[in-house]
């Protein structure tokens, strides 16, 4: 099976050439362009800057200023609230990612490779579903969960998160698998490999980059999920980081600015790192806007 590795899997890189038009960088337009960008950059940085400064400031408040350096905030917030919100967020994000990405792979593979009657309609429905505002199903899903006694559980909460992420994941993966050449699977089929074996040993390695994009996408959105766990899981021990931050803020009274900033910073870190790890493939994923038109 070595020959399989020779063909590099297609990546979702942009296909067109980069526009390289030579402009003198120091022309008036060049200076204006760069200055505008710097101003926009500063505007985008300012709100974030407070977060970073307050997190390491001994007596932080709303004002932005040079910090009285300390790492006490990080220590205090972790001893006071423990790692539980992180564990809960990780649980929700992992279960959602595994369920949504796994199910998306099964359906995307079938829809891409097999003859399914009404395939076109199914794909249009999938696209349609991925555009529906999922949070708007919150009230009926709450009632369904209440009837089934599924409320207040991290697992069932992740199941709904997975269901809401599934249509987009199917769409993303189907387009990706479509781009993978079919000959290898046919060869494996002729050699006598069964469906599951073809899926695991031939298709999976080839679509790994696409799968990674879908998985990271699912993970990031589940990590940031707020209203679904807020509504479906009222158990304080199950509180993910997002709900913790909200309650921190909502408890109005005395806010521990520095600690909340430190917590938010720590909480943002995993998704930022994940995004950076995958940014190269992800960027191509955003040919989505263009890729959709095919």
């Amino acid at each position: 099976m070595r020959f399989l590795n020779r063909k590099a899997p297609p990546t979702l890189q942009p296909t067109g050439p980069l526009i390289v038009v030579d402009y003198p960088r120091l022309s008036p337009t060049g200076i204006a362009t760069n200055t505008t960008l710097v101003i926009v950059g500063v505007a985008f940085a300012l709100p974030l800057l407070w977060l970073v400064l307050a997190a390491v400031d001994k007596n932080a408040d709303w004002s932005i200023r040079l910090p009285n350096l300390t790492i006490e905030n990080f220590r205090a917030v972790l001893t006071a609230h423990g790692l539980q919100p992180f564990v809960n967020s990780l649980y929700l994000a992992l279960v959602t990612t595994v369920v949504a990405t796994g199910l998306a792979l099964l359906s995307a593979y079938t829809l891409s490779r097999r003859h399914v009657p009404g395939k076109r309609t199914v794909m249009l429905l999938v696209l349609f579903a991925s555009g529906l505002p999922v949070t708007m199903m919150l009230v009926p899903i709450y009632q369904i969960y209440a009837t089934l006694h599924w409320l207040d559980s991290r697992f069932t909460t992740s199941l709904f998160l997975a269901a809401s992420a599934l249509p987009f994941a199917i769409w993303l993966l189907k387009n990706y698998i479509d781009a993978v050449p079919m000959e290898l699977e046919e060869a494996a089929g002729i050699e006598g490999a069964g469906t599951l074996r073809v899926l695991l040993h031939v298709v999976l390695p080839l679509v790994l980059p696409g799968l990674a994009v879908a998985a990271v996408f699912n993970f990031i959105s589940a990590w940031g999920a707020f209203v679904v766990p807020l509504v479906l899981d009222a158990n304080p021990d199950d509180q993910p980081g997002t709900v913790a931050i909200y309650q921190f803020l909502g408890s109005h009274g005395y806010i521990q600015f520095g600690q909340l900033a430190a917590f938010s910073l720590l909480f943002s870190l995993p998704v930022v790192v994940l995004y950076l790890l995958i940014a190269r493939i992800f960027r191509g994923g955003f040919a989505f806007g263009g890729g959709v038109r095919g």
Partner: protein, 299 residues
Amino acid sequence: MGSDTRFQLGHRQDKPRFELSSAALLALPGGFLFFLFVGPIVYALFLGFTNLQLIGPHAQRWWFTGLANPTRLMHDTVFFTSVKLTLIFVVGSGMVGQTLVGLALALLMRRSLMPIRLSVGVLVVAAWVIPEVTAAFVWYAFSQAGGTLGILTRSPHTNFLFSAPMTTVSVANLWRGTAFSMLVFSAALRNIPSEVLEAADVEGASRFRRLWSITLPLLGPTLVTNLLLVTILNLSDFTLIYTLTQGGPGNSTMTLPVYIYQEAFNYYELGYGTTISLVLILIGAALSLLFVRTSRSAA
């Protein structure tokens, strides 16, 4: 005649057939979606016409109330305020704000110095990739009395979430969501063949002329797709507004998703909350349908 031959010869072998294993592969995801995605929507069609409550006399004993909820909706002034605010939010902050700033950034970045392009890109994307609750918290801090915004505008005692709530929330959303449009437009710009622009350059077209007559028209289809996606994303946005203002002060930022949440889970009116949800699902479905129509060739 034709059908007779088919019976004699058995199934045509050259035609792809639906295999049983395909059904097995599709059963799990299909069932899952049917239960947790289609189910709630269908259930909403019923719940929206009942008097179900979360807590109260109709929590256990509730029934179909016909047109009572829609009638109530038609006389609900908060609902109409909410529709107006949602429109302002989606059109002002999303369709105009995020799209224009995203497009401008994508265009400017093509011509900028590498370090500037990289750092601006990282900052814009960072605002988008951090969890929405964190983005909301950052803006909460930014707009409080004594916060950075107050210092910048020389009104340190102003809490902008009280003095200009809708504007602040819209700008926060612009800050958070611009990256999406920027990435979409950047990808589209990379796909414009450089020959076209070079040809125009040779013909002596000015920079503005090239932008106006070549780049922007070529971006047209992307613009349409992007506008629809941005609308869909912003229409259902809940977390940012709810975390910043909870719809207040005095309903001034009560967009539809926040209003639904308030009716259903703060006022315990699950039935009526679902009625409002139905309005939003209808708008969302119409937009999503439009989106499917514009991108049909792909499926």
